[in-house]
């Protein structure tokens, strides 16, 4: 099983979650999991349990806001929404992601 052992990967998960929440209404964890799978056409399959520590960590950092709400099937679920600080973080992470991928791409082209 894959383990998110380095910060870059953890940062990637953060980036994905922030990106998804930045354009949508508040979502619960399961919904976010499904979306990631769906959009990345099952390429990015994360260990679903690892999403939650990330969500809580980001909530604590003030990037996300969470509250309990009713799910589609009228179950209690915790919904997450992005905050202003989260949007700023997203912009930063997007920029550095682009820089990183550009750099990696250049290295790949060069050799």
């Amino acid at each position: 099983m894959r383990k998110h052992t380095n910060d870059r990967l953890r940062g990637t998960l953060d980036l994905l979650v922030l990106k998804i929440l930045s354009t949508r209404r508040p979502m619960h964890g399961y919904g976010i999991t499904l979306l990631i799978e769906q959009i990345s056409e099952d390429v990015l399959r994360l260990e679903e349990g690892s999403l939650y520590p990330a969500l809580h960590r980001m909530t604590q950092s003030g990037w996300l806001r969470s509250e309990w709400g009713a799910s589609e099937h009228n179950r209690r679920a915790r919904y997450y929404a992005i905050t202003a600080a989260g949007r700023k973080q997203l912009a930063d992470e997007e920029k550095s992601w682009v820089r990183l991928t550009d750099a990696v791409a250049r290295v790949l082209r060069f050799t």
Binding site: M1, H28, G29, Y30, T33, R45, E47, E48, G49, S50, Y52, P53, L55, H56, R57, T59, Q60, S71, H73, R75, R76, A77, R78
Partner: protein, 876 residues
């Protein structure tokens, strides 16, 4: 998440588990549902959901971690890190913890005394509403004088107090015991216990009917007496107790812990006055206590009672002119001047703690310079400024908690010493202990100290310039000018604080010394004092009592080692002594408000000779005075000078009461030197002495002047007294020296403690200066090496280093001197024959400080200058 909700989470992990658990369960169930919808079997669906999730227990843990453990963990890390760091610098840590512990210990000890004696409410119902009422004797300038029964009854007609009660502290002889014993008791009005709001634990209080002279043969026992003498006998009510030879029925027992009016009082009897005494407005002997009505402030009551006082002055000018009503909250009365003393001492120990904090801050700052690189590395690795400050403050807090623990132990032991030092008659002394409020105080003080001494270094260190520090390669000596300024400032501050304390202690010491050097006007060494009361059965009336004393004194004088034995009613005067107004023959009567009372004592003819009191004019009593001869008196010099200035007093006459009173004219036959009879601080008042054969008194004090330690003759004195009257009661044995000592005991207590604290401050300041010089020369060892290499002599270097330290000390001493002068006003009421601006004290303290500082800086300076320059230059 705010730290409060984090803290809440700490205490309800289960609920959190529930919330996180619910969130995760929702996820799993949603996946399960989708899997089933996609056509999996239930078993497959479940397996797939769990596999995708990756072990829910793990996830749950991790999720919760994010919430609290992150926070707790950093705290744990910080604490572990702090311990590691403190251990690594064991020397600095020990020095810092001990300085702080001394400061915290002293604070805890003084606070525990303050709490038990001053802050804790008295053991009565709603004690804040209780007050003592006194006759405000403006004629004598005495605010707290006793009042008369008619006054008391008039005072009762007010709207501020629910009720007033009156009492007279006396003593009684318990004759039922094997050996007759004297017990302090109080005669009280029947409503006293209800005014105080404390009913008897057993039986009943007194009734109004028992306030009549022939019906007052009832008594209420104190809990202690009931337990000790009567083995807590539950069927004691109704039993008969013989008091002063009179049978009294026990009607009640007070609960344990009931104290009124003094700690020793163990018996209460009804106040039953003969009609003449009830009606005598000029007979002042009553103490009064009252309970305010709900909603009435002490100030209101004071104003109303002042009005009643003025009304009585107008109504009965002869008796009341110059007298008012003085209201004192009961707690203030009980605590007395101890409140101010303890607050001054608390201020002093707060200074000591401040000095300790400054010391530790300086130590940490010094070490902080050395730690600059470590901090810089941590900062470079991404630790934020707040994070660094938090970590450094944690270190300070851990240090202060260790110090607090040691301080508590110090306080625990020093309280025992404190109790020994404290004046014995101090109220509520036995209640001094380390209890919950004291523990909370210690905890708060320790934390506050930790933040205080940790703040400066933490702010300073966390402001490190990364590049500079790292580039310097850890060469710690360039600690920067700013650090050196801060450290100099701190040193100046601690010297100033010590200066303040030392000055206060110096002023107090000068006062005590000048009081101790006062000659009280009588023999103080080797004089035994003992009150002796003959039995009423054998010696019922006046002349027989006088004969008892003269017979006994004759026998006492023949005891080997006894140089003289004499008797007097009271050796020393209380604050409200037996006294009376008087009329001088041939002088016009002064208006009532200017009348002065003179004290009256009965003495044996040889009293002044035995006590070494000089005769100034005329003669002593010759022993032939009797009821049949002219009443004669001896007066003191103050009275002679005041009423017969420049005249020959011998042969003049005066009488007690006004010109029309039927008291006999008394002829003055002698004038004796003034004596300090109300403690060493008060000058003599007008005092008169009668021969005991003309004015017999029971329960006189016998004074026995011996060649050596008077305690040696105690056994023989007792035997001699018993041989005259085997049921005589002997009580209040003491010596003159002890009694003078006791009168100075509160002052000695203040002075010793203030002295101790300022000594502590001096030592701490010296240690501080030592530490600063030590660290500064170690950091400047290169510079010193260069100077030595360039040919500077050791002496000039020594002068330079010590000179730098002394500059700081002088600045501190000057600042402290000014502060001490400003603060010494709080001490002025404690000073005697020395002003708060006494230049000698200031000079002496400044010299003491400079000497200690020089000593403290010479030691490290010598060490530094004796370093081989080559080694010094290589040193890093």
């Amino acid at each position: 998440m705010s730290w409060t909700s984090r803290l809440k989470n700490l205490f309800r992990p289960n609920q959190l588990d529930g919330e996180v658990g619910e969130e995760l369960r929702f996820h799993l169930e949603a996946r399960l549902k989708d899997n089933l919808a996609a056509g999996m079997t239930p078993a497959e669906a479940r397996q797939d959901a769990v596999r995708r999730f990756g072990g829910q227990v793990l996830a749950k843990e991790k999720t919760r971690d994010a919430d609290i453990l992150v926070w707790l963990d950093t705290l744990g890390q910080d604490i572990r890190y702090a311990f590691r760091n403190l251990r690594k610098n064991a020397g600095v840590t020990t020095a810092a913890a001990l300085s702080l512990a001394l400061g915290i210990g002293a604070n805890t000890a003084i606070f525990s005394a303050l709490h038990a004696i001053v802050l804790r409410p008295l053991a009565y119902k709603d004690p804040a509403r209780l007050a003592r009422l006194w006759l405000d004797n403006r004629r004598l300038g005495l605010h707290e004088d006793l009042t008369s029964f008619p006054n008391y009854e008039d005072w009762k007609k007010n709207r501020s107090f629910l009720d007033l009660a009156a009492f007279v502290p006396t003593d009684t002889i318990l004759t039922a015991l094997e050996e007759p014993a004297r017990l302090p008791d109080a005669v009280v009005t029947s409503n006293l216990f209800s005014v105080l709001g404390v009913p008897p634990a057993l039986g009943r209080a007194f009734t109004m009917e028992e306030e009549q002279p022939d019906r007052d043969n009832v008594v209420i026992l104190g809990h202690g007496l009931w337990r000790r003498q009567f083995a807590s006998d539950p069927s004691i009510l109704g039993k008969i107790l013989e008091l002063d030879g009179k049978p009294c029925q026990i009607v009640g027992v007070m609960p344990a812990g009931f104290v009124f009016p003094s700690k020793e009082t163990q018996l209460w009897k009804p106040l039953a006055l003969p009609p003449a005494r009830r009606a005598n407005r000029g007979g002042f002997f009553l103490s009064v206590v009252g309970r305010l009505k709900p909603g009435v402030a002490m100030e209101q009551a004071r104003a109303e009672m002042a009005g009643i006082g003025a009304q009585l002055e107008a109504q009965y000018p002869d008796f009341s002119k110059g007298y008012g009503v003085w209201v004192v909250p009961l707690l203030d009365q009980v605590v007395g001047s101890m409140r101010q003393v303890l607050f001054v001492l608390l201020g002093a120990v707060a200074f000591v703690l401040l000095i300790a904090c400054v010391n530790v801050a300086n130590l940490l700052l010094g070490r902080g310079v050395a730690r600059g690189r470590e901090i810089a590395v941590r900062a470079a690795l991404g630790a934020g400024r707040t994070r660094l400050i938090r970590q450094l403050l944690t270190e300070s807090a851990v240090l202060s908690m260790i110090a607090g623990g040691i301080g508590l132990a110090i306080a625990f032991w020093s309280i025992r010493g404190l109790v020994l030092l404290v004046p014995k008659d101090l109220p509520r002394l036995d209640e001094v202990s380390i209890d919950a409020p004291v523990l909370i105080f210690t905890l708060l003080v320790s934390l506050l100290a930790g933040i205080l001494f940790g703040m400066a270094p933490a702010l300073r260190i966390s402001r490190v310039d990364l590049n500079e520090t790292l580039r310097e390669g850890g060469r710690s000596h360039s600690g920067g000018k700013r650090v050196r300024y801060v450290r100099s400032g701190l040193t100046i501050a601690e010297v100033a604080l010590s200066m303040i304390l030392l000055t206060g202690a110096g002023l107090m010491l000068r006062s005590l010394l000048s009081l101790q050097s006062i000659h009280p006007g009588f023999q103080t060494e080797n004089v035994l004092t003992w009150r002796i009361a003959p039995s009423r059965v054998k010696y019922p009336a006046g002349p027989a009592v006088a004969n008892f004393y003269s017979d006994m004194l004759r026998r006492l004088q023949s005891i080997p080692g006894v140089q003289g034995a004499a008797a007097i009613t009271d050796v020393f005067l209380s604050s409200t002594p037996n006294s009376g107004g008087f009329t001088v023959e041939g002088h016009p009567s002064p208006p009532p408000e200017q009348q002065i009372e003179a004290t009256i004592d009965s003495i044996s003819p040889n009293y002044f000779r035995v006590m070494g009191v000089p005769l100034i004019r005329g003669s002593f009593f010759d022993g032939h005075e009797s009821r049949d001869t002219t009443p004669v008196m001896i007066i003191n010099e103050t009275m002679a000078k005041r009423f017969w200035p420049g005249e020959d007093v011998v042969g003049r006459r005066f009488k007690f009461g006004d010109a029309n009173s039927n008291s006999p004219w008394r002829t003055i036959i002698g004038v004796v030197g003034d004596m300090r009879l109300q403690g060493m601080e008060k000058a003599a008042r007008c005092e008169t002495f009668a021969a005991m054969s003309q004015r017999p008194a029971r329960g006189m004090t016998v004074v026995i002047h011996t060649a050596s330690d008077p305690v040696r003759v105690v056994g023989m004195v007792r035997d001699t007294v018993r041989s005259v009257d085997k049921s005589a009661v002997l009580f209040e044995r003491s010596t003159i020296a002890d009694q003078i000592g006791d009168s100075l005991s509160q002052r000695r207590f203040e002075t010793i403690l203030l002295g101790l604290f300022s000594l502590l401050a001096l030592i701490l300041a010296a240690i501080g200066i030592y530490g600063v010089v030590f660290q500064s020369v170690s950091q400047r060892i290169n510079e010193i090496g260069i100077r030595v290499a360039l040919g500077a002599s050791k002496n000039s270097l020594l002068r330079m280093i010590v000179g730098e330290a002394l500059l700081l000390v002088s600045l501190g001493a000057v600042a402290g001197g000014f502060a001490a002068f400003a603060l010494s006003r709080t001490l002025s009421s404690f000073l005697y024959s020395v002003t708060a601006a006494d230049p000698l004290t200031y000079l002496a303290v400044a010299v003491l400080l400079s000497l200690s500082a020089s000593l403290a800086s010479v030691i490290p300076a010598r060490r530094a200058t004796s370093v081989d320059p080559l080694n010094a230059l290589r040193y890093e």
